[in-house]
Symmetry: C2
Subunit: 419 residues, 2 copies
């Protein structure tokens, strides 16, 4: 293990000398502190210190700092932006994801020499592959459970997000099953409150899903939000198994890493990883986490599906960022353990985004969810599902959507409603 | 439970009409979506919708957005900053901390209508108090275990942060025990790597701590960093108990909420909550979390000590923010369940910050840690501990530090070294 190193790439902005700042970050995040202390010998540094592997200045400019500092700064000072790669000996922390997080994303973003710092990517040495399960299902397992082949899973979110009782939810699910939906999920706000208790919802929803599967041979995957304390999640997981459910959902920023690792250990179902809260981790371009770096941690921990937002979404994220996230999900993490997960497109999605999404990712190993885009279709949810599936059929056949719509009235209506 | 509501305060910046944006946030975070869907009846809204309780415009100005958006924006557009209070019916989610997080800090920071959003505070209804343990030890339990009364705990951090073997660490601990230290902690980068395995470190360190306690009757509290997966933390906790250790430390952003809740359930030791990574959650003043809001969640989950940085720290956080955080730790969460925790001052701390710290918080229920400030004292760690304790004696007696130092050479040396 001695020779293995962890690497992390950062986007750095500083008013200071970037080489000195890089050395400070490396010191702070390994053996150093703000003064020289006894015991920090050359041998210890060799054994434990983080190394600056690469520092490339991207631009030098005059302007305002991306992030404020506590001391007043000159209005038009000289700033540097650089791409920095650090490495750490694995022997200091071992192949532990929580401790990896404290190392690559610990006390460094608030350093006073830093006026911007964003973690862009991480590269993990082989022992990490052996230490964690990675996705147990991924695209292959999800396709096996749903029977959907050769196209994305067409999914939806129960809307209104909250407020429905268990029976209200089941009634909508019955409609969606009849419409031929592949995938349905709880909203992340729907958990286990008195208004719609988890166990009641599971029983009512699975009654409809199972009945539909018995009738048609097709069993839509319903991702039940079991977000909660560890013991609650274990109990809820077992309730899902008992009712024949085929997917669970968890809000990963709420559950956190140790909880997700534990969940992945006992889960016998695909884990639909919801990223709500992602905005506070990523919204500022010079602070926090890139999706590429962040998602690697959750993929290795055991997520099977990861949310990536969607093209032309209702949030502030630009399309190129959405596409980069989706591609990151599909890129192997280790040669012998790829840990690829299904990207989940959502947020204001409808037929409009289909051609662009397919052109950008060039795969069908996706889950495409539309809440309002399906449920608010002028002819109802059934037509909403048909329209979205038809939009994908057109994209996969390379037929312009408008042409395809001429012979597919559900698609036609959806296009008109979206125009 | 029907009548209970959760409240959250935000600092909002928007180029849009703030009332409309407030309504959008409330809708997104409860029953709404971007289009009207069937089933969103007045009765459902009454039952489940978030409410805008208060919206106070702080300023209207012309300038650049705090956070970028995906669409190009006019250079000097008109912006509004406002303080917004939302409320949610508890009946939707129940008294669940992970689901609370998804509700008050979920998919809202990235809304395109929002050019800045920061969660300032949360107020939890009474059922939350019954649902979680809160700190089992707090200041009282920590004082009972350490025997320190009437002054802050004087602590230090093992430095170099990483690189020491278990025996190197124990040798330093022996020195610190001899010097009369109250509290020692692992650095958050020191976990359970092959260079310094947790079990070996615990055995070696506690051998010294116990021997010193047997000799002197004073047992310093050592906070061992057990950050890891849930099962690892359980095993490590039991190792701590077996060796007579009196504190555990966890990196709360790495462990996450469900993991910390689980840890607090089985822990028989005070939980020293390390906030590394706090920078990515808080560094931008118009994004993410205030310490007040964030710390309430961890306090209720069971933290006993929480890091708050320190005055004149080596990071970018201004002193008023540090003081606000320390005061937040000491403010009751519920009338009958205060959940107050000991604030931990750290980061470049030494004798210099003592008078200002005491003047600002006016309590001794604190842990004050100095790494380099103790270990790099010109006369060694023993004098480092004496100097810091003398600085507090002076502050508590209302004697100017320079006067007190005339008859206290360790303090005198520390002041000279810091000058």
């Amino acid at each position: 293990m001695q020779q293995h190193r962890i690497e992390a790439d950062y986007l750095l902005e500083t008013p200071d000398d970037p080489e000195r700042v890089a050395a400070t970050i490396a010191g702070e995040q390994s053996s150093g502190t703000f003064v020289r202390v006894p015991g920090e010998t050359p041998e210890l540094l060799e054994r434990a210190a983080a190394r600056v592997e690469k520092l490339e200045v991207i631009e030098r400019f005059t302007g305002a700092r991306a992030l404020p500092t506590s001391t007043p700064t000159p209005a038009g000072e000289s700033l540097v932006r650089a791409r920095l790669t650090l490495s750490w000996p694995l022997a200091t922390l071992g192949p532990s994801l929580p401790n990896l997080m404290a190392t690559v994303a610990g006390n460094l973003f608030e350093l006073r020499q830093v006026s911007g710092l964003r973690l862009l990517d991480i590269r993990l040495p082989q022992p990490f592959a052996a230490a964690y399960p990675g996705p147990k299902f991924g695209a292959e397992g999800t396709r096996r459970l749903t029977g959907v082949k050769g196209r994305p899973l067409i999914g939806t979110i129960i809307k209104p997000s909250v407020g429905f009782s268990a029976e209200d939810t089941a009634a909508l699910v019955a409609q969606l099953c009849a419409a031929g939906i592949d995938f349905i999920k709880d909203d992340e706000l729907q958990a286990d409150g008195p208004n719609c208790p988890f166990n009641e919802r599971v029983a009512a929803v699975m009654r409809e899903v199972n009945a539909s599967a018995d009738r048609t041979g097709k069993k839509p995957m319903y991702a039940f939000n079991l977000t909660g304390d560890v013991e609650e999640m274990k109990r809820r997981h077992d309730v899902l198994l008992a009712h024949g459910a085929t997917c669970l959902m968890a809000s990963i920023n709420s559950v956190g890493l140790a909880g997700m690792i534990e969940l992945a250990k006992f889960s016998q179902l695909p884990i639909h990883a919801h990223r709500n809260g992602w905005g506070y981790l990523s919204r500022h371009p010079l602070l926090g986490w890139s999706f590429t770096a962040w998602s690697k941690i959750w993929r290795l921990a055991g997520a099977d599906h990861m949310h990536v937002n969607g093209l032309a979404n209702k949030f502030s994220e630009p399309d190129d960022s959405v596409i980069a996230s989706a591609r990151a999900c599909l890129e192997p993490l280790f040669a012998d353990k790829p840990c690829t997960v299904m990207p989940v497109f959502s947020s204001g999605q409808g037929v409009t985004q289909v051609p662009g999404t397919y052109a950008a990712v060039n795969t069908t190993d996706l889950i495409v969810t539309a809440g309002g885009g399906i449920l608010a279709h002028p002819q109802g949810p059934g037509a909403g599902v048909s329209a979205l599936r038809e939009a994908w059929d057109a994209a996969l056949q390379g037929v312009p959507q408008a042409d395809y719509a001429r012979t597919h009235p559900a698609l036609q209506s959806a296009m008109e409603a979206a125009a």
